[in-house]
């Protein structure tokens, strides 16, 4: 029997795998993917709660998140293209001109 906890565990796992992806991967594209993973984890939890509270809000919110995630991804990719054109690299750690 799959209970709410299973869904929520999965969603939290997805989320934190995403978090660690952001922290540990160096390639910007992978970092973007990890962020998407985090958002999808959140989506899953929204859908779960929507099911268990018997409200529609969660579903709608999931739509919103998907829509905005796409927009975000588009801008992220645009930034990535711009960076690659200028710097010929997509390694996150190469971008540390500004510090101190």
């Amino acid at each position: 029997m799959i209970t709410i906890h299973h869904y929520l565990t999965l969603s939290a796992l997805l989320f934190f795998i995403g978090v660690f992806g952001v922290l540990y991967r160096r390639n910007l594209i992978v970092i973007f993917m990890s962020i998407e993973l985090m958002l999808n984890g959140v989506n899953l939890s929204f859908i779960t709660f929507a099911r268990y509270t018997n409200t529609m809000d969660g579903h709608v919110i999931a739509f919103f998140i998907m829509g905005l995630a796409a927009a975000e991804a588009a801008i992220g990719l645009a930034i990535l293209v711009m960076l690659f054109r200028n710097r010929r690299t997509v390694q996150a750690d190469d971008f540390s001109l500004m510090r101190d």
């Binding site: 906890h5 565990t9 939290a12 739509f63 829509g67 796409a70 588009a74 645009a78 293209v81």
Partner: protein
Amino acid sequence: MPLAEKYSSLFFLFALALAVPTIMVFLAWVTGPRRPGSEKSLPFECGVDPTGNPRRRFGVKFFLVALLFLIFDVETIFIFPWAVLFRELGIFGFIEMSIFLMILLLGLFYAWKKGALEWE
């Protein structure tokens, strides 16, 4: 309220979810042998020494198309539920969706004017 009671275990789930990747990272760090060498940091190209500049041309055109596709594709998630409930939402829904589509179309127009749709 039983719902809240039920969720109190959520907190432990959160901790668990945090712990699992942490442990994974930690284990990888502890157990994994780390012998960095010049050989190992080379890109792996089927045993053949890499030739040429690995930083090749970047297919910006593909990215642009992918970008546009991503946006216009995902926005259909708003159109789909509207289509399903078209009759119930009536004229109001129609106007609202028209505004939404108009804005999207403006975006498309912008992309077009900027030459994002030209392949060459």
